[in-house]
C-alpha cells in the first residue's frame, strides 16, 4: 500500500501528462506483478466487491474520529469525497503499512460473509495501521469510488511502455471478463499465452465531436475545411440508445455495453438473432426501444435499464432491437484493419441473411452529395429520433477509443429554455466546497417550478461568481442544499424532453446542462412551464 499511496501523492503533485505517465511507470516498475494487475483492475472499473456498505463505513468512521455524526456529515459536504473525509478526520499518526495492494485486496475480499462485528474490528484496526495518505487510497479501494485524476488510457499507456507493447493491443487484452486474481501479468503481456476468452470484446471506437459547443456551429464550408470532400465520407444517423458490442463465438453469445458491463441478460429479444449468427462474429451497434419498426426516445429504454428482472410488462412496453453499425470480427477473424466500406459490406451480408430483420436492423446510410445537402438533412434529426449525424471516413479502420480524424459526430443543437436558479448544492472532487450543482425553475403563473438539475457548463470564473452569489443570497438551508434568492437566469440546454409523473414539473429532460449565464435577463423574463410543455410535441 505504501507504493500505491506514494503513487497517488506523486500523481497529485503534477498537472503534466508526461509527468503522470512517468509516475505510473515508476509504480509499475517497482511493484510485484499481482499488484500491477490489481492496479489495472481498479483503473478499469473492476473494483473489489463492496464488503462494507456506506452506512457502516460512515458509522465506524464517526466512531474512530470521535466526533458527532452531524459534524461528520458537514465535513463531508466541504470535502466532497467520502474516502478523503474519513482520511482527514481520523486521528493522525505515523504508522505505515508494508502490506502490498494484493494483500489488502485479498483481505477486503475475505470480509465476505463475515459478521458485522468482525468487519468493524478489521476496519478500525486497518485504519490504525495506515497514515493519512494510505488511508485515503485504502478508503477509495474499499468504497469502490475509484475516480482519481488519471484516466484508464494513461494507465494503459504507462504499462504499454513498461511491457514493450502498443497501447491498442494492451487495451484489447484488458477488455471483457477478467479478474485480477486469475489473470496473470505474464499472460497479459505475452501474446502467445494471452488469456483465451471467448467473451472478450474489442475496445470501442468513439467519434469525436465536430463542434465543441453548440454555440460554435459548423458551416458547410467549415465542414469542407475540416473533413475534405463529402464523397470520402459515409453518413448515418446518430442514434440515442445504448452502444453495445454483440458477440457470437463457440456457440455462446455475449452483449457488452460501452461501459464494459456484460448485459447479455438484459436484452433477451436479441438472443435469437445472435444465436443464428455464424460463430466468430462481433457486431457493433446501438440498442434502442422500438415500436412498429420505429425507434423510441431514450426515456422509454431508460425504464428498463437498471432493472434486475425484466417483467413481461416491461418487455411488452419497451421492446428493444439493434441498429447495427459495424462488424469487427467475421469468420473468427479480427477485421478491424479493413476499411469502413469493406466492413460495411460484410455487415450488410450478415444482416441480409438474418431471419430476424425486425430485431437485427442496420443503420441506413444517408445519401448526400455535398456538405450543404447533409447540413439540410441534419435538420431532420429530431424527427428521426436521432441526435444528429455520424460521419465515418470510407477508408477508416476501426480504431481504439476516442480519436480525432476518421469518425465524427455532428450533433444537432440542443433544445433550450431560460430558467431561474433556485437551489444550490456543493459539488464534488475538483469542485468540492463550491456551490456548483444547481436546480433550475421556470414560471408557472407567479410560481417557480423546478424542472432540471445541471452541474456543468459554466467556466471556473463563472462558478466562483455563482458560488459567491449563493453564499450571500441563501434564504434557507436544508442539509447540504441551499434555497437561493431567485435572481440568476441561465439558458439550459437539453437533448430531449419527455412527460414524467415523477417530477413536479411533469417533464423529464435528457442531458440538461447550462449553455450560458443570461446576465442580460431579469428573472421575470425566464421561460414558463408552457414553453417547456410545448417542446413535448405530439
Amino acid at each position: 500500500m505504501k507504493a500505491f499511496a506514494q503513487m497517488f501523492t506523486s500523481l497529485d503533485e503534477t498537472n503534466k501528462t508526461n509527468e503522470k505517465v512517468k509516475v505510473l511507470k515508476d509504480y509499475f516498475n517497482c511493484v510485484p506483478d499481482t499488484d500491477k494487475m490489481h492496479m489495472l483492475a481498479l483503473f478499469s472499473g473492476r473494483k473489489p466487491k463492496r464488503q462494507i456498505n456506506s452506512t457502516f463505513f460512515r458509522l465506524w468512521a464517526i466512531e474512530a474520529a470521535n466526533i458527532p455524526a452531524w459534524l461528520f456529515e458537514e465535513s463531508y459536504h466541504i470535502v466532497g469525497d467520502l474516502a478523503e473525509t474519513v482520511a482527514l478526520l481520523l486521528p493522525d499518526h505515523e504508522n505505515s503499512s508494508n502490506k502490498t495492494l494484493t494483500e489488502w485486496i485479498a483481505e477486503i475480499n475475505g470480509l465476505n460473509n463475515l459478521p458485522e462485528v468482525e468487519k468493524h474490528n478489521w476496519l478500525l484496526q486497518s485504519w490504525a495501521m495506515l497514515n493519512a495518505q494510505e488511508r485515503f487510497v485504502f478508503n477509495k479501494v474499499l468504497t469502490g469510488s475509484f475516480r482519481v485524476g488519471v484516466s484508464q488510457n494513461l494507465v494503459i499507456k504507462a504499462l504499454a511502455d513498461v511491457a514493450g507493447l502498443d497501447a491498442a493491443t494492451l487495451t484489447h487484452r484488458l477488455m471483457g471478463n477478467w479478474m485480477p486474481e486469475t489473470y496473470q501479468y505474464e499472460e497479459l503481456v505475452h501474446s502467445d499465452t494471452a488469456l483465451e476468452d471467448v467473451s472478450r470484446p474489442y475496445p470501442f471506437f468513439l467519434a469525436y465531436p465536430v463542434q465543441e459547443t453548440s454555440e460554435k456551429q459548423k458551416t458547410p464550408e467549415a465542414m469542407q475545411t475540416l473533413l475534405g470532400n463529402a464523397n470520402e465520407w459515409q453518413a448515418e444517423w446518430k442514434w440515442d440508445g445504448i452502444r453495445a458490442q454483440l458477440i457470437k463465438r463457440e456457440g455462446e453469445i455475449f452483449i457488452w455495453s460501452r461501459g464494459e458491463d456484460l448485459a447479455t441478460d438484459k436484452f433477451p429479444e436479441l438472443h435469437p438473432f445472435l444465436h443464428h449468427l455464424p460463430d466468430g462474429t462481433v457486431i457493433d451497434g446501438e440498442i434502442l426501444s422500438f415500436r412498429n419498426g420505429l425507434p423510441l426516445p431514450f426515456a422509454i429504454l431508460q425504464t428498463r435499464i437498471g432493472r434486475k428482472t425484466l417483467s413481461k410488462k416491461i418487455l411488452e412496453e419497451s421492446p428493444v432491437a439493434l441498429i447495427a453499425y459495424d462488424c469487427l470480427e467475421y469468420n473468427g477473424e479480427d477485421i478491424r484493419y479493413k476499411t469502413q466500406t469493406e466492413r460495411r459490406q460484410l455487415l450488410e451480408g450478415l444482416q441480409a441473411s438474418t431471419p430476424y430483420p425486425n430485431v437485427f436492423n442496420i443503420s441506413s446510410l444517408i445519401t448526400f452529395n455535398s456538405w450543404d445537402e447533409l447540413a439540410e438533412i441534419r435538420e431532420k434529426s429530431r424527427a428521426m429520433v436521432a441526435e444528429g449525424i455520424m460521419l465515418k471516413r470510407k477508408d477508416a479502420h476501426y480504431q481504439v477509443g476516442r480519436r480525432r480524424g476518421d469518425w465524427w459526430k455532428w450533433k444537432i443543437d440542443p433544445l433550450s429554455v431560460d430558467a431561474v436558479m433556485i437551489y444550490a448544492q456543493k459539488g464534488h472532487g475538483r469542485r468540492a466546497d463550491l456551490y456548483t450543482d444547481y436546480t433550475f425553475a421556470v414560471w408557472d403563473g407567479d410560481k417557480l417550478v423546478p424542472f432540471a438539475k445541471a452541474y456543468s457548463g459554466l467556466t471556473d470564473t463563472e462558478i466562483n461568481k455563482v458560488d459567491a452569489f449563493v453564499k450571500r443570497n441563501t434564504i434557507e438551508k436544508f442539509g447540504p442544499v441551499r434555497t437561493v434568492k431567485p435572481e440568476l437566469v441561465f439558458e439550459i440546454g437539453f437533448e430531449g424532453i419527455n412527460k414524467s409523473s415523477r417530477h413536479k414539473s411533469g417533464v423529464a429532460l435528457r442531458f440538461p446542462r447550462i449553455l450560458r449565464w443570461r446576465h442580460d435577463k431579469p428573472k421575470e423574463e425566464a421561460d414558463t412551464i408552457e414553453t417547456l410543455k410545448a417542446l413535448l410535441g405530439e
Binding site: G427, R430, D460, N464, A468
Partner: protein
C-alpha cells in the same frame, strides 16, 4: 443581561460604547483599534488608529497618511475609562489580540490567530477573559496542520528538485505573513530568493520597522531569467497565471494555504504542489485556544461559524455566531479581475478597502 455589554456587534464593526472606539471596523469611524494590517481588518478612512508597533510601517504603506498610535504587547492605554491592551495573536508580524477591560469585565478580540509558533512573529498567548471574540476560519475537524518544520522540509526539497530539473520555482502566499514565514524558513544554500514587487514592498515596510528578514531580490524588468530559475520566487496569489508569472516558465508552482488540505481545492487552483500551511488556527488549535481563555462566552466572527459554534455548545461552551465583514465563508467578496486580466481564484478573497489594496487578494488563507 442586566447591563449593556462592554463590546457589541454593530454594522460598522465591533464597538465599545463606553470607550467610544471600534475594533477592526469596516466603516469609517473616529477611533479604530486594529488587530493586524490585513485588508479586511485595517480599512482606510478612520480618524485615529491604534495598533501594535510592528504594524506601523505596513499600515503606513497600505493606508497612506493616517493618524496612528502604536503600543507594545502588554502595554495598556486608557480610552474614556476603558483599558485597552494588546497580546500576541501569532497570526502575522504585528498581529495582536485586543484585550478590553472595564470594571472587572474583560473581553478579548482575537482578530486572526494561530497557536503554532512560526518563529517569525510573536507566538500566540492565551489571555484570560469573560468574553472571547474569536475567528474560526478553519473551524472544521478536517483541518489539522502538520508542524511547520515538516512542511518546510517538503518545500525545500521541492525547490531543490526543481533546480536539478531546471525548472523555475514559484511559491505563492499572501504578502503580509505567509511571504515572510516562507522566506525565513527557506534553505538559502539552495539558491537566492526573488520576490514579486508587492511582496518586496511589504518586506521593505517590515524592514523599516526593524524586522530582520533573510535577503531577497526584487524581480524587475532587468532580472535575468536563467538566474531567477535557480532561485525561488515568492509571489502573491493575484499573480497566479498572469503573464508576469508565465515569463519564468517552465516552472513548478506551489501554493501555501490551509485550503490545500482538501484535494479538490488544490486541483481547482491547478497548483503543482499544495503546501498545507496556514496562519490561522486549525480545529484543535481553535478549541484549545478558546478553552485556555477560561471565558464564559465565545463569539465566532468568521469562518465555519455555524458548525463550530454548534460544536462548542455541545461540549459545554456558551458559543454564539456573530456576523462581521471579516473573511468568513458567508461574507466573501465576488472575485475581482486582477491586473493580469485573469480572475483571481481565491476563495479567501476579501472585501477590499475603499482605498484599494495592491494585491486585492489579501486575507484568509
Amino acid at each position: 443581561m442586566s447591563h449593556k455589554p462592554l463590546l457589541e456587534f454593530t454594522d460598522k464593526g465591533i464597538y465599545c460604547a463606553k470607550g467610544k472606539f471600534y475594533i477592526d471596523p469596516w466603516q469609517p469611524v473616529d477611533d479604530a483599534v486594529i488587530t493586524h494590517a490585513h485588508a479586511d481588518h485595517a480599512y482606510v478612512g478612520h480618524k485615529r488608529y491604534l495598533a501594535h508597533h510592528l504594524s506601523r510601517e505596513v499600515l503606513y504603506y497600505r493606508l497612506g497618511e493616517i493618524q496612528l498610535q502604536t503600543i507594545e504587547y502588554g502595554e495598556t492605554v486608557m480610552k474614556n475609562g476603558v483599558q485597552i491592551s494588546m497580546f500576541p495573536a501569532g497570526h502575522v508580524i504585528g498581529s495582536a489580540q485586543i484585550r478590553v477591560e472595564s470594571q472587572g469585565e474583560v473581553w478579548v478580540v482575537s482578530g486572526d490567530y494561530k497557536v503554532e509558533d512560526d518563529g517569525v512573529c510573536a507566538p500566540f498567548e492565551p489571555v484570560k477573559c469573560n468574553h472571547f471574540i474569536s475567528e474560526c476560519t478553519f473551524g472544521m475537524p478536517i483541518y489539522k496542520w502538520k508542524s511547520q518544520a515538516n512542511i518546510f522540509a517538503d518545500v525545500n526539497n521541492w525547490w531543490q528538485t526543481n533546480v536539478q530539473n531546471n525548472l523555475a520555482t514559484v511559491i505563492v502566499g499572501y504578502s503580509l505573513g505567509k511571504a515572510q514565514r516562507i522566506l525565513q524558513n527557506l534553505d538559502l544554500s539552495i539558491g537566492k530568493v526573488y520576490t514579486h514587487g508587492v511582496i518586496e514592498n511589504t518586506n521593505e515596510a517590515l524592514r523599516r520597522n526593524g524586522i530582520v528578514l533573510q535577503p531577497t531580490e526584487r524581480i524587475t524588468a532587468d532580472s535575468v531569467k536563467d538566474e531567477v530559475r535557480k532561485g525561488i520566487i515568492i509571489a502573491p496569489p493575484s499573480s497566479v497565471g498572469t503573464p508576469w508569472m508565465r515569463k519564468f516558465g517552465p516552472y513548478s508552482f506551489g501554493y501555501c494555504s490551509g485550503w490545500m488540505a482538501i484535494r479538490g481545492a488544490k486541483r481547482r487552483r491547478a497548483a503543482d504542489r499544495g503546501f498545507v500551511m496556514s496562519d490561522h488556527a486549525d480545529w484543535d488549535g481553535l478549541v484549545s485556544a478558546i478553552d485556555a481563555t477560561g471565558c464564559d462566552s465565545v463569539y465566532l466572527t468568521h469562518g465555519s461559524t455555524a458548525s463550530f459554534s454548534r460544536y462548542l455548545r455541545e461540549i459545554g461552551f456558551d458559543a454564539h455566531e456573530v456576523h462581521t465583514l471579516y473573511g468568513g465563508e458567508e461574507e466573501e467578496a465576488p472575485p475581482q479581475p486582477s491586473p493580469g486580466g485573469r480572475e483571481l481564484e481565491e476563495e479567501g478573497l476579501k472585501v477590499s478597502p475603499p482605498g484599494g489594496d495592491l494585491e486585492g487578494a489579501e486575507g484568509v488563507i
